[in-house]
């Protein structure tokens, strides 16, 4: 039903998007927590930098990644010398690019839900003998679960649809960095491939719909678990 090239693109897209979400999870929660709960010099700057991918053209982000993480870039050279890792023109590089683009969306969602957690509960846990770390894991994080789910799904969707930063930083290599959007772009550029392009388009729509429904279901589930508790209280 699907051609080998199509399968490649689908698998690659999912792998890259999942990896992207995977690596931004911890730093994203950390940054969201800093922005939601801490006052420190340079907070506005951090806030601005985190949001850059949202307001800059993706190509600019791709270019900045190339400059910093390319073989000659400061970080890229270090990575290559120390760990032997080269990011440009690899699927890992594509995951980095998609992750950077998804980062602000994730941080925004998590930050909002962290801010909604009542600091009074955290203070109560503190007086009950819990360390800061235990408070975070047992009170703050569980109570911001709905935002965490939403943020993860948003980030996944954003990573799946990434185009500009990926093609700039990781290029468009079949089987390595040619994700669905890139494959579709290539087909559109090739005369006589209109039917294949249309097929990829339909596939993209189906994947988007599936993840949208899944995210709705997860978020509703998380919300319902919370409101059930409150709802019972109101009834009693």
């Amino acid at each position: 039903m699907l051609s080998a090239a199509e399968w490649d693109a689908i698998q690659l897209s999912l792998r890259i998007a999942l990896s992207a979400v995977g690596w931004i999870l911890l730093p994203g929660i950390a940054v969201a927590w800093l922005l939601a709960r801490r006052e420190f010099p340079g907070k506005a700057l951090l806030d601005g930098v985190v949001h850059l991918p949202l307001v800059l053209p993706p190509v600019v982000i791709g270019y900045l990644l190339l400059v910093s993480m390319g073989r000659r870039g400061v970080i890229g050279q270090w990575l290559y010398d120390v760990a032997g890792i080269a990011l440009p023109f690899t699927w890992q590089g594509a995951a980095v690019a998609s992750g950077v683009m998804a980062f602000p969306l994730f941080v925004r969602a998590v930050r909002l839900s962290l801010e909604a957690v009542d600091p009074k509960l955290e203070a109560a846990a503190y007086t009950l003998g819990a360390s800061r770390w235990r408070i975070f894991l047992t009170v703050t994080l569980p109570l911001s679960l709905p935002g965490l789910v939403t943020g993860t799904m948003l980030a996944f969707a954003r990573a799946l649809s990434e185009f500009g930063a990926t093609i700039t930083f990781a290029s468009n290599i079949p089987g390595e960095t040619r994700t669905l959007p890139l494959a579709l772009y290539s087909l559109i550029q090739t005369p006589g491939q209109e039917a294949a392009a249309a097929r990829l388009c339909v596939i993209s729509v189906i994947i988007a719909m599936i993840s949208l429904v899944a995210s709705e279901w997860l978020a509703r589930n998380a919300r319902r678990r919370m409101s059930e508790r409150d709802g019972k209280g109101a009834a009693a």
């Binding site: 509960l121 846990a125 009950l128 003998g129 109570l143 508790r229 209280g233 009693a236």
Partner: protein, 371 residues
């Protein structure tokens, strides 16, 4: 009774300064390591700020806090024990239960292994056994506050802080929970610092009273002694001027519906039948307005309770020049009486004089059912 229990070295010594915006707290007090110590004052007087400093939720700008031998905070040598290592339980104004945990898990949240054997006792004492598997969102205000008291107790604290824990509850629930708290104090024998702006709550529960105003300590002594401070009439306006006496049940008269009490070897009271075994020690409250004085023992009066007394002091009430208060000594206990200036002049009362105190009503302090 007068000074906090310094001998055992476990009193709570506080000498702190803290500035919060335009408000400045400057407190130097020592609270006993026994019973209930109330912090009383209008809102904005600094009682909650003081409580937060004791809990470690805020840092003092200067000074130190020590619980017995243990320094909790000392700004000078930069000692600061964070709240999670102070072994001080806090019950807040709102229950602050974790909404995502069942009652049982809320109770166990801060419970060390050493407190596990007490779980059932505390649960039983607070009457929350039927609630264990419920989610906090399904509890009523009184139930939730009881769970939060249990949760704090089960951390095995050396001190329990309560910040107006009854403010969200209605009258009946309030009385019920007050009794719970008093029972806890007596049965678990844990010192409590109790913040409140409600005189009724404080008279019902406190042994020691600290009065705050604008961030300063006006008085800090036993409840009886502070309530005797006529110079604080304005601040203590909400308290009924009353004295507290200790007495022992010596007998019951079922026919007349009376209970006989002995205040000491020679002074007796008879009060409406009170269901307590002979020998029980009680604390009774006598409103100053319900005490009349007679120069010599009167004949043919319906006042059944007459106590021989000596006038220790006659104190004018600030802001009211028609009345004054007499502090009477009954052996080693004290009794307050309100009288008009005219009565004093007509009867020619003077300090040192022997009189008879006529008592119209006696209220019981249900919190003292020891022995």
């Amino acid at each position: 009774m007068k000074t906090p229990d310094l001998a055992s070295g476990t009193s709570l010594a506080i000498d702190v300064k803290k500035r919060l915006g335009r408000f400045a707290l400057d407190a130097d007090i020592s609270l006993p390591a026994q019973g209930v110590s109330a912090l009383f004052g209008a809102s904005g007087s600094g009682k909650t700020s003081l409580l937060r400093l004791i809990a470690g939720l805020d840092r003092p700008d200067a000074g130190r806090i020590a619980l017995g031998e243990r320094t909790l905070a000392n700004v000078e040598n930069k000692t600061f024990v964070p709240p999670n290592r102070r072994r001080i339980g806090v019950v807040f104004q709102e229950p602050r239960l974790f909404p995502h945990y069942r009652v049982r898990k809320n109770l166990a949240y801060g419970m060390p292994a050493s407190a596990r054997p007490r779980f059932d006792t505390v649960v039983g004492l607070l009457g929350i056994k039927p609630l264990l598997e419920r989610m906090p969102g399904t509890l009523s205000g009184g139930e939730a506050q009881r769970v939060s008291i249990g949760r704090a107790l089960l951390t095995d604290p050396e001190l329990l802080l309560m910040d107006e824990p009854l403010s969200g509850l209605d009258g009946a629930r309030k009385r019920e929970l007050l009794q719970f708290i008093r029972r806890l104090v007596d049965e678990i024998n844990i010192p409590v610092v109790y913040v409140s702006h409600d005189p009724a709550e404080i008279t019902a529960i406190a042994d020691h009273l600290t009065v705050l105003e604008n961030g300063r300590i006006l008085a800090s002594d036993t409840l009886e002694n502070v309530l005797l401070r006529v110079d604080l009439t304005e601040q203590l306006g909400g308290f009924d001027a009353a004295s507290t006496l200790s007495a022992r049940v010596t007998g019951h008269d079922a026919d007349y519906g009376l209970t006989e009490l002995a205040v000491d070897g020679e002074r007796r009271l008879s009060v409406p039948l009170y269901d307590a075994p002979v020998g029980t020690r009680l604390r009774i409250r006598i409103p100053a307005r319900d005490v009349a004085l007679a120069v010599k023992p009167p004949e043919g009066t319906s006042y059944r309770n007459r106590l021989a007394a000596r006038i220790e002091a006659l104190i004018p009430l600030p802001g009211d020049n028609t009345a004054l208060e007499a502090v009477l000594s009954l052996g080693d206990q004290r009794l307050r009486a309100r009288l008009t200036r005219k009565s004093r002049d007509d009867m020619a009362l003077a300090e040192g004089q022997s009189v008879t105190a006529l008592i119209r009503s006696v209220a019981f302090d249900t919190r003292w059912h020891r022995d």
